[in-house]
């Protein structure tokens, strides 16, 4: 299993500012994933963060808006830059364990962001 600590759990931010979300895993993982869950919607993958290389962004997401750091195998940050009300969402950090007999995705508690 994996225990993921994500902070802050929630924040209310002014438009035009930036917020950095931290994600700490209790074990080393190769890839960490950042998702966005907009109100009433499913999860949308923002990017995949590998340690030692640039993050890989999904279509519709760019590094300038969502810069990601991955300084080691247990930690990652996601910054939501120059925020607007449309960025109000839940942001989730995730890791996945894959194996022949067991595979599962684990999630942090999420960061509930409101931009005013």
């Amino acid at each position: 299993s994996a225990v993921i600590s994500q902070k802050p759990s929630r924040d209310i931010c002014q438009r035009g500012t930036s917020l950095t979300i931290q994600c700490q895993v209790d074990s080393q993982v190769t890839m960490m994933f950042w998702y966005r869950q907009q109100p009433g919607q499913s999860l949308t993958l923002i990017a995949t963060a590998n340690q030692g290389s640039e993050a890989t962004y999904e279509s519709g997401f760019v590094i300038d808006k969502f810069p990601i750091s991955r300084p080691n195998l247990t930690f990652s940050t996601l910054t939501v830059s120059n925020m607007s009300p449309e960025d109000s969402s839940i942001y989730l950090c995730s890791v996945e364990r894959f194996g022949e007999l067991n595979t599962e995705a684990f999630f942090g508690q999420g960061t509930r962001l409101t931009v005013v």
Binding site: S42, E96, T103, A105, F107, G110
Partner: protein, 115 residues
């Protein structure tokens, strides 16, 4: 391309009644299948998963799901629901994409259990 469809966006049900939340998928490659639950103001928690073997999978909190390959379905069931089962339920599919595994999600089904 792979896709996941949850056929019901909202399912209202009375306490102690049975419930089925439907999930269909489309894939040209073999997949793993998951159901996750998200209680109000919480993160996602794995309910159950199908990787291989028996097509009937039992998970936590009395839930079970059956993998039906011919119908490409993985419906979630519980014979008797509780108020505490009120939550958002997500079906997900994992498949190989090159050297990585991809995970794609359904839009979710909101289960509302009423007294």
């Amino acid at each position: 391309a792979q896709s996941v469809t949850q056929l019901d966006s909202q399912v209202p049900v009375f306490e102690e009644a049975p419930v089925e939340l439907r999930c269909n998928y489309s894939s040209s490659v073999s997949v793993y299948l998951f159901w996750y639950v998200q209680y109000p103001n919480q993160g996602l928690q794995l309910l159950l998963k199908y990787l291989s073997g028996s097509t009937l999978v039992k998970g936590i909190n009395g839930f079970e799901a059956e993998f039906n390959k011919s119908q490409t379905s993985f419906h979630l069931r519980k014979p008797s629901v509780h108020i505490s089962d009120t939550a958002e339920y997500f079906c997900a599919v994992s498949y190989n994409a090159g050297n990585n595994r991809k995970l794609i999600w359904g839009l979710g089904t909101s289960l509302a259990v009423n007294p």
